[in-house]
Symmetry: C2
Subunit: 352 residues, 2 copies
DNA sequence: AGCGCTCGCGGTAACGTTCCCATGCGTGGA
DNA sequence: TCCACGCATGGGAACGTTACCGCGAGCGCT
């Protein structure tokens, strides 16, 4: 049974005294390292258990310069994608015996700066950051080993980063759309200021050019990365004159769900009249009706790889690698199959 | 401009030297405390800015016994409800200048114990825990100020806790159901082992008894707190003979969404044939079709209050309070209104 | 048998901070 | 004019840990 003093947490000195050795010996025994008699080690370990000793990581950190803590600064932990990233990072860190300090920046550069300062003061060994601003000059604001997550990381060639492979994801999506007979999907994209938008668009263009198709014919609508943004974008799309079935590739699941609402608002049916493909893989897509077919980003894997990259950075193995994690297709019900079901419907579909 | 040494982070001694004072004076100046000439203080502050000094919280923690960090152990940060709790806790902690160490236990008591040990070693000032097991004996495993979250906290009278007010939530739900003409809803509850289930059921009974109704007539199905659990429970419910419209009150939104799927699987329509009321307020409910009417738990508020309670605990203001946060109704589209549309249907409704 | 090496252990310094106490100077009152 | 008090500052210890160095004993090799 553990004797727990009411007043003070036991230190290694308490352990040493109880074991009848010096604190150096006790430390060595507990570190499991070299030059210790098995008998002495056992005595120390027993004493440690008896007094309920638990190594003080603050003191260890002070002495070694390693706190065993990592920072994670993401836009919002309550956002399902970022929660997945956090979960992956947390699991990977825990497996390496590290802890994770989590902060949400709410897409606010000032909050981000505050949190980074807090992390530096806490002497975290390094930080994983999704930079909220697409452009900021002063990389000194980090002042510790860092790994970036997301597309905006591209702007900082000196910092290694982990993100999803947007190019692969877009190709996956377009191929799937084509396999279902949707040759020229409309695009619902994010704000022009965001780097991810350019990446998405570039991938679409490449894919079309490779197939000798003209990407110029594609309708494009921009919006905020929100349900409302997608809803409005879809409204504008539906207001345009068109022939036949309408297929939409949204750059974000929230927008896709918003688009789905707009379709319903307009008295149309998804997937009968409009097909919608999302991008993210958030859980809500599963419960929508129809289920949202989407390209899922591997949020958890991204978090894990970011931690691994951060360890590399901390150990001064500066691979400075830019890692793009592959995405995968989540096929649910929001895409009509124009290719097989009813060829005659292709002509007649979407009479509106 | 900040001079940042390649090698070493500046300490208070660097600041003191640059300002031409002793480290005691520098510390006093930076602490903003007593007995310092304005001129000296200014010189120190300038020197600190010049060398880019940032107080080492590890050292502060060692010296003061306060690390400025709090622990949060929840089942799964990737679960939307817990992510909300984490967000609230994080914001409240940040407002008090504290950082949050987040861990996911995955409903595994062993993982929970490991994380608590890690938190103790990190010398967090306290921890917020959702105890995964409904019963565990050894409260010593905490060994630091603690606040519990959730129903299972009820078993530990010595530890203050924060949770949602299940009684109020159930009444709110039942009142709303009755106002829509659903007098005897079927219940989809969690596993019998969970304390929350008993709380829920007790609240239902009280509510019925107060109205001189017999709670014995209510159909009850149990299941895991998952989509699949809800789906199966609903399947069993639909297999029972019944007359008229079926109303269901699920103890959890995931189960409610699963139930909605089962309704669709059976070729029925929600809310035309079956009304479903959920409990949690997860975002996915908004995107389901129809939108899930539900009782929303104030996850964020719970996280905030838990941190406040933890501060009380740390400051030895042992209020030992049991706080129940009120829930609110989120009205969407999954409930049929039998009271106005077709009064004659009420007679036939919910006889089962 | 003697020398040297290895091994087990103890002592001490150092990490960066804050707090307590001492010191010295200036000022006001008797 | 002298003493006492207050205030700004400096010096040192302590928080708990680990790394380094040194010492003594034992053992093996020449």
């Amino acid at each position: 049974m553990v004797e727990r003093s009411r007043s003070r947490r036991p230190t290694i000195i308490d352990v040493a005294e109880r074991a009848g050795v010096s604190k150096s010996t006790a430390a060595r025994a507990l570190a499991g390292s070299s030059n210790i008699t098995d008998e002495t080690r056992e005595r120390v370990v027993k004493a440690a258990a008896a007094v309920g000793y638990e190594r003080n990581h603050l003191a260890v950190g002070m002495r070694s310069g390693r706190s065993g803590m990592l920072g994670l600064v993401i836009p919002d932990i309550a956002n399902p994608f970022w929660a997945e990233v956090a979960r992956g990072a947390q699991d990977r860190a825990a497996r390496a015996g590290a802890s994770l300090l989590v902060f949400s920046s709410d897409w606010d550069p000032e909050a981000e700066a505050t949190h980074l300062r807090t992390l530096r003061r806490a002497r975290v060994d390094g930080a994983i950051v999704n930079p909220v601003s697409d452009s900021f000059d002063d990389l000194d604001r980090f002042g510790m080993p860092c790994v970036f997550i997301g597309s905006s990381a591209e702007r900082y060639p000196d910092i290694s980063s982990v993100g999803s492979d947007i190019t692969q994801a877009v190709r996956l999506g377009l191929d799937h759309l084509m396999s279902k007979g949707h040759v020229a999907p409309a695009l619902i994209l994010g704000p022009k200021s965001r780097l991810a938008r350019a990446r998405f668009l570039r991938a679409v263009h490449e894919h079309f050019v490779e197939r000798d198709l003209d990407p110029g014919v594609l309708a494009v609508e921009d919006g905020e990365y929100t349900v409302e943004g997608g809803r409005e974008a879809m409204r504008r799309l539906l207001a345009q004159p068109r022939v036949g079935h309408l297929a939409v590739f949204a750059a974000n699941d929230m927008m896709a769900l918003g688009a789905m609402m707009a379709v319903r608002d307009a008295g149309l049916d998804c997937p009968r009249d409009v097909s919608i493909l999302g991008f993210d893989g958030i859980p809500s897509g599963e419960f929508a009706w129809p289920g949202l077919t989407t390209i899922a980003k591997p949020g958890r894997d991204i978090g894990e790889r970011a931690v691994e990259g951060l360890f590399d950075e901390i150990e001064h193995r500066p691979e400075h690698r830019r890692i793009y994690m592959p995405c995968r297709l989540l096929e649910r019900g929001s895409l009509a199959d124009l290719s097989v079901a009813a060829p005659q419907r292709i002509a007649g579909a979407g009479r509106n």
